[in-house]
Symmetry: C2
């Protein structure tokens, strides 16, 4: 019988090494895309011997799944900090700004999320994890919208659910557009575009003056 | 020197075979995802000998690039039919409905587009092709919005450019959500959600009664 108590410290140590590996993966993906990120390349970048990643991530798929979870945790940590002590529209804007690809770090996060999406198309458990992640954001957005209506900051005839779906879909679409950037628009200008999209969308919801 | 006149019929024939191959790819991706769609599997599905795809598509990447172009052409053909003789808001709705994943065919198209996006992250020429495709939609949407304002169907204080960006980002985000469907929501219900998103967004733009 496995002694669960004993295995805890080992798992914690594993998790630290895993995050090192994920950060190495990230740097490689940012430089050359997910196709460049072979297990051999990642091992080299993280300072592991070739083959030494196996105990942490048996396959590249497992690594991507963990990387996505890690991105999601990081985003949620940033959201927690940005929304602390805030409510209503201010908290809503803070949440959306942490998810939107508005700086280089968050564009790199989008570059991790896009391959995860492809992968999740054939791994229902991963698609479900993604959906649960979105569910947490939907719940938070719903709460902030309720408060924003109380504060008189939102007057649109739409249901809060409809507004929530718009915001979720806009945030997901922005990840794709930022990760690709197939235009000649400088990255900073493109990022500003997503900021404007959020601002102008919220403008549609405001009470008319 | 290559005689260009002579090579034309050959190219046309090539294109027909290519579309057969793309349709086979599509069926495999719809059944088992892009990872299942190896060159060997695709050859078998399309009734080609193993290795016989090479003259048409040297690599799976080339095949995916062509498949995306084909999806884009099909969508544009549907848009041309759906918008014929229409203008303003009616034409705008017709365009968006042809892009949104509102039926099984269009969800399958989304399943082709998601791997293309990942691929385009490291192939700037493909990201550029995608951007050009979006540029055509942006131009058409801009024209319809102008007409819709003339018709008094839109009263929002937002610029047409801002509205166009919202619609583009919503349509792209919907592709991801449809291709993944990580929820327990039946596909038909999920598709209805995208229809509602379009309706409710346009509601925000209408003159208040």
């Amino acid at each position: 019988m496995v002694n669960k108590e004993w295995s805890v410290p080992k798992i914690v140590q594993h998790d630290e090494r895993r995050i090192e590996i994920v950060n190495a993966t990230w740097r490689i993906i940012a430089r050359g895309g997910v196709e460049r990120a072979t297990m051999r390349e990642i091992a080299a970048e993280a300072g592991f011997a070739n083959g030494a990643l196996k105990p942490y991530f048996p396959t590249k798929d497992d690594l991507l799944a963990f990387a996505f979870q890690h991105v999601f945790c990081r985003t949620n940590e940033r959201i927690a900090i940005a929304t602390e002590g805030r409510r209503g529209l201010t908290a809503l804007v803070a949440l959306c700004r942490e998810v939107l690809p508005l700086d280089e770090d968050r564009v790199n996060e989008a570059r991790i999320v896009v391959p995860y999406w492809q992968n999740a198309m054939t791994h229902p458990d991963r698609a479900r994890f993604h959906e649960e992640a979105l569910g947490q954001w939907r719940a938070a957005i719903g709460q902030y919208l309720l408060e924003a209506r109380d504060d008189g900051d939102i007057a649109a005839g739409l249901t809060d659910e409809a507004i929530t779906e718009h915001l979720i879909t806009l945030m997901i679409g922005a990840q794709i557009l930022a990760a690709l950037n197939g235009s000649d628009i400088p990255d900073a200008r493109l990022r500003r575009r997503f900021e404007e999209q959020l601002d102008t969308y919220l403008e549609l919801l405001r009470p008319s003056r």
